[in-house]
Amino acid sequence: MKKLLRLLAVTMILALAAPALSQANQWRFDEAHTRFFFDARHTFSLVRGQFDDFSGSVWFDPEKPETGRFEFTIPVKSINTNISKRDSHLLSDDFFSARTYPLITFKSTRVTPSGDKIFLVDGILTIKDVSKYVTLPFTFLGQKANPLNPGEIVAGLEAALTINRLEYHVGTGQFAEIGVVGRDVDIIVTLELLRDK
């Protein structure tokens, strides 16, 4: 009986530990060096903006990419293009309708390796009332002991993606039609991630 109980206990411990063993490392954002940029064309020039506030979780191990998971949540009101008037216009119903749709989210569904240091992160990008499957092609920039804090490991990942903002109802197309604000928006995600050794 004792042997049976011991066996049962060991089985349970292994069963509980198995997913943890197979799960990728969980990372936290180095918030000062993680950025969610976007570039949009204004008539001729390129306007770069970013979202100053974000949260989320990243589980990632380049050795076991299939166990990876990426989740980002971005409050729209943290939009910053360096001109406050433009920012408030972007928050209005002309673009993001931030009062009705305060968050932009991305939730990965699958991570697959694709060539040297490239990992395709498939997931659902939700902007306003539109959720679409997109693929963020992350380049793994490497990982090493944090030179500033030897107790940590730092890793870098970067991805770029172009979306048509009108597909996400960001604007009605009025500004695109008159040639002022382009339809295509380049999204650049640059992540500096930290975890304890």
């Binding site: 009101k77 943290s78 910053n80 001109i83 406050s84 008037k85 433009r86 920012d87 408030s88 216009h89 928050l91 209005s92 119903d93 002309d94 309708s97 931030a98 009062r99 009025q174 500004f175 002022v180």
Partner: protein, 216 residues
């Protein structure tokens, strides 16, 4: 010659001077009200149709309020010219009427401007300080108006109330000019900017003219 000993003006002279002064003020007002058309801010440029009209209307209301606010100290400065035209006792009546118009007009400014943005909330972050300064100023303007309307209910001696009222009024006007300068790109260059700076300079000069009356 001592101005108090000068001969009083005839009715014809008063009407003529009053008309000229009224026309000068109207010209100034027309120039100010034309700013959203001649020097549209970037936010006006990006609006279409009804939203553009609402935004322009809101800006016109705001500019009118600033101009009327700038008139308030002029009306109580006891300028001999104004005394001759309107009579000395009517200064304060004009000051009160102007103050009443100001308080009636000021809500139009934020309502129309925000209506153009479908009343989207302004995030409470540092970069929107000119907008929040505007909200504070509207509250202060109402407080100032209420304080004048119900002065007798305020447990303050008249001279102290007058000092507080006048000082707050001057600060309010200067802060309103700061608000206008930073909240709208219209006032960041050219004639509209000169207009704001001229108003600020005139207000400062007026404060120095009235400082003894205000601070004693």
């Amino acid at each position: 010659m001592d101005r108090s000993l000068a001969e009083p003006w005839t009715t014809g002279q008063r009407v003529l001077a009053g008309t000229l002064l009224g026309c000068a003020f109207l010209l100034l007002l027309l120039f100010a009200l034309n700013i959203p058309f001649s020097h549209p801010s970037s936010s006006i440029l990006y609006k279409f149709g009804w939203d553009k009209t609402l935004l322009r209307g809101g800006k016109i209301a705001g500019i009118t309020v600033i101009l009327l606010l700038a008139m308030q100290p002029v009306l109580i400065a006891r300028f001999s010219l104004l005394g001759r035209i309107f009579g000395t006792s009517s200064h304060f009546t004009l000051h009160r009427v102007n103050g009443f118009i100001l308080c009636c007009l000021i809500p139009l400014h934020p309502v129309l401007v925000r209506a153009a943005e479908n009343f989207a909330p302004i995030p409470f972050v540092k970069k929107y300080w000119p907008e929040y300064l505007g909200i504070v100023l509207i509250c202060l303007l109402f407080l100032l108006g209420a304080g004048a309307l119900w002065r007798k209910k305020i447990p303050l001696a008249y001279p102290l109330w007058r000092t507080v009222h006048a000082l707050s009024g001057f600060l309010l006007l200067i802060a309103a000019l700061v608000h206008a300068h930073f909240v709208s790109t219209s006032f960041q260059a050219g004639l509209p900017r000169i207009f704001l700076f001229a108003l600020a300079a005139a207000t400062t000069l007026l404060f120095f003219r009235l400082r003894k009356r205000i601070l004693t």
